[in-house]
Amino acid sequence: MNETQNELTPRARRDGLVVRELSGELLVYDRDRNKAHCLNETAALIWNHCDGQTTVRGMVELLRNHSGAPVDEQVIWYALDQFAKDHLLEERVKRPVEIRRLSRRQLVQRIGLAVSIPLVVSIVAPSVFASASCTQSCITPADCTVPGCQGHCTNNVCAP
């Protein structure tokens, strides 16, 4: 095992993120990318400990204590990969060369279901045109004077 890699201390990104905890899930909204993510309990536990102080080895311990079952280091790396992909870390953490990247299926095959797999799922729902105030007809962008819809005329309608 690569001792150096396991002493890495990942740091979660905080700037530009809105975080809300809802019934066992952690919801994260990336304001910069306008993307929302839902972290299950295991992913939330790992992400919450990406504080720049807890090592990968420490996370394995934390998760083991939390679940009461043996935890494979792969679980942590799987979560960190997802965080990195979704821009939820300050900087990508380089995985040890001997720890190969596993798919979710491979991870389940390897560790079984003793610990729930950390999942980061994108939240997709239709956007709501919540403001009725923007419904102003226009011919040119200059016609759009309602604050929040100014200067945007699409198909003869002001848009935010």
């Binding site: 809802l22 729902a125 709501v128 045109f129 919540a130 007809s137």
Partner: protein, 378 residues
């Protein structure tokens, strides 16, 4: 006055005219029935019906409220529930982001000595059991006319441009409420560590009522807001203040209270408008339910118009008169909006005179706005 009794009965026996097959609007009303309450009654629709209206709920911003209503029922296991749950999650995040924006925006405006009043949006969402149930897309702020220029400048600054603000310094011709009156009775609500000025409960119910009718009541969530405001009103709620001085305002508020009662089951028995609330004209209820069948901004005028009327006067459009006629049909006003626009009473009389009146007034306004040369050509 709204005198005619019709086949719509009070919520106690809750019978509806379309017993055989429920319209989509009726299904939306049934699902949202008392859904704002912490302990809402079990949903009154089945899984297939939920599937039918899920796009309407999601598209109109009522997805989270619907989710809260079904999550503990059998419907909570349905495939529609997955989508509604996603909406709830997304609204929860957007709400948290917007709350942060509101705090920053109000702090920004106070730094230029403007103390705005927040209307609708968070000001009403805070009355729901969970603010995530009530999404909002912009920040409606009311400021004194003397402070408007400073507020506008702050909102247009690089810092202010980060927020979607709808700034008001008056209520237009549809309400006789003045901004000074609004300030005199306004209250402070805490949003985290920031104090936010909000309208008193009486003024807020009145503002929301006129706003909903002015926009033709197409969004179910607006009526939920009114229902929440009615049921969360303080013990010393002053109905005279809420109903206002004019007959018209009283009529509007009473009709909205009545709609909240008849469609969503809001408790109104102990209000002075209870009698009217239970005897609304049939056209009003059916019109709102019809609107709820397409509760999207894109289905509402002017977004639903194919092109601005002025553009039909240009050469290329004149070659396509069918498009013009189709668009004229789309401009036939909704009965609610026409009644509001013409200042008519919400009674049992037919609506077409008000709709024609609204068309005539709008056409006159359109012609008056045309350049003189074009007017002469017409």
């Amino acid at each position: 006055m709204c005198a005619r009794r019709n086949s719509y009965r009070s919520v106690n026996n809750h019978k509806w005219p379309m017993a055989a097959s429920k319209s989509k609007g009726k299904l939306v009303a049934d699902l949202l029935y008392q859904s704002w309450r912490s302990h809402a009654p079990p949903p009154r629709i089945n899984e297939d019906e939920l599937g039918t209206i899920t796009p309407l709920l999601l598209g109109s911003g009522a997805g989270a409220l619907a989710w809260a209503n079904i999550r503990d029922s059998k419907l909570g296991e349905s495939s529609s529930a997955v989508e509604l749950h996603q909406a709830y999650r997304l609204h929860a995040l957007h709400t948290a982001a917007f709350e942060d924006d509101i705090k920053k925006l109000i702090t920004l405006l106070r730094s230029v000595n403007v103390d705005p009043i927040l209307i609708k949006g968070w000001a009403i969402a805070r009355l729901y059991p969970d603010t995530a149930l009530r999404p909002y897309g912009d920040v409606d702020l009311c400021v004194r006319p003397s402070e408007y220029a400073a507020a506008k400048k702050a909102c247009e600054s690089p810092e202010g441009q980060k927020y979607v603000v709808d700034l008001h310094d008056r209520f237009g011709r549809f309400d006789d409420l003045t901004v000074d009156e609004l300030y005199d009775r306004s209250q402070i609500a805490k949003l985290g560590d920031v104090e936010v000025r909000v309208p008193c409960a009486e003024h807020h119910l009145r503002i929301m009522s006129s706003h909903m009718l002015r926009h033709g009541a197409w969004r179910p969530l607006w009526l939920c807001d009114i229902a929440v405001a009615i049921e969360a009103r303080p013990a010393d709620f002053d109905w005279d203040l809420c109903l206002g001085r004019s007959r018209q305002t009283r009529d509007w508020v009473a009709c909205c209270v009545g709609l909240a009662h008849q469609l969503l089951g809001a408790e109104v028995d102990d209000t002075p408008v209870a009698r009217k609330a239970k005897t609304l004209p049939g056209w009003l209820i059916s019109n709102v339910m019809k609107q709820w069948e397409t509760p999207y901004a894109t289905s509402q005028p002017p977004v639903s118009h194919r092109a601005a009327m002025g553009s039909y006067l240009r050469g290329s459009y004149l070659r396509h008169p069918r498009g013009l006629f189709a668009d004229l049909r789309r401009r036939w006003p909704n009965a609610i909006e026409a009644t509001v626009y013409t200042g008519g009473p919400f009674n049992a009389l037919p609506r077409w005179p008000f709709q024609i009146g609204e068309c005539v007034a709008r056409t006159a306004k359109f012609i008056a706005r045309l350049p003189r040369a074009l007017r002469d050509r017409i």
